[in-house]
Point group: C2
Chain length 100, copies 2
DNA sequence: TTGACTTATTGATACCTGTCAATATATAAT
DNA sequence: ATTATATATTGACAGGTATCAATAAGTCAA
């Protein structure tokens, strides 16, 4: 799934959302787990809203289980998108010294 | 100069700003040069506004020359910030297969 | 000094978005 | 069926921001 670099940046351009991503790094959490992990900073609808944004950017994966939905960070997507940014804005960095 | 990952993402989270970054990739341009390069999409004050944002995020370098100010993309900063994002959100990607 | 040029700043406006309260939807348990 | 639980959606509101027109500030030329 190819992701627009602006969409990717927009998804990252929020403090709370980056905290959520941190929580979901390398582990599957339900929505309420995330709410708890944030320690009452925001409430459940807000977390759902952020998770939706992250999902639209392809940054999280979802797995339904009973009445819960488990999310985890898509680390490959993060890596790919960051690589795309470097490709786009620093293509020859490290190659042509005269460019700097 | 250490850059906050949220600030970095915010700087990238705009279509016009990414276009400006593209223009400034590997070349020094005056403000009016950037305005022209964008082909009348936005006017001069708007470009100045965006350049200020990019400067605050450490993504561009500035050089004064006469009455003009020349900007260029700081490719090293882009590379470093992207590396930081990967470090933060995909630290062990490619190392621990059990993590995926 | 005056005028021309380049860029930054200010004020106004419209749009976007993060947040919450309330509610809806869906699923499981009894 | 009814109740409880988990999550998503809606509506409202406040704060942020992208944009422009107008103006200011700084610099060079004459």
């Amino acid at each position: 799934m190819k992701v627009d670099p602006v969409l990717f940046a927009k998804a990252l351009a929020d403090e709370t959302r980056q905290e959520i991503m941190k929580c979901l790094c390398c582990v599957w959490l339900s929505v309420n787990d995330v709410v708890d992990a944030l320690g009452g900073k925001v409430n459940q609808p807000t977390v759902s809203h952020h998770l939706k944004k992250l999902e639209e950017a392809g940054l999280v994966m979802v797995r339904q289980e009973g009445r819960q939905r488990f999310y985890t960070l898509n680390q490959e997507q993060v890596t790919v998108c960051c690589g795309n940014l470097i490709q786009r804005f620093a293509p020859e960095y490290g190659k042509k010294p005269d460019c700097r």
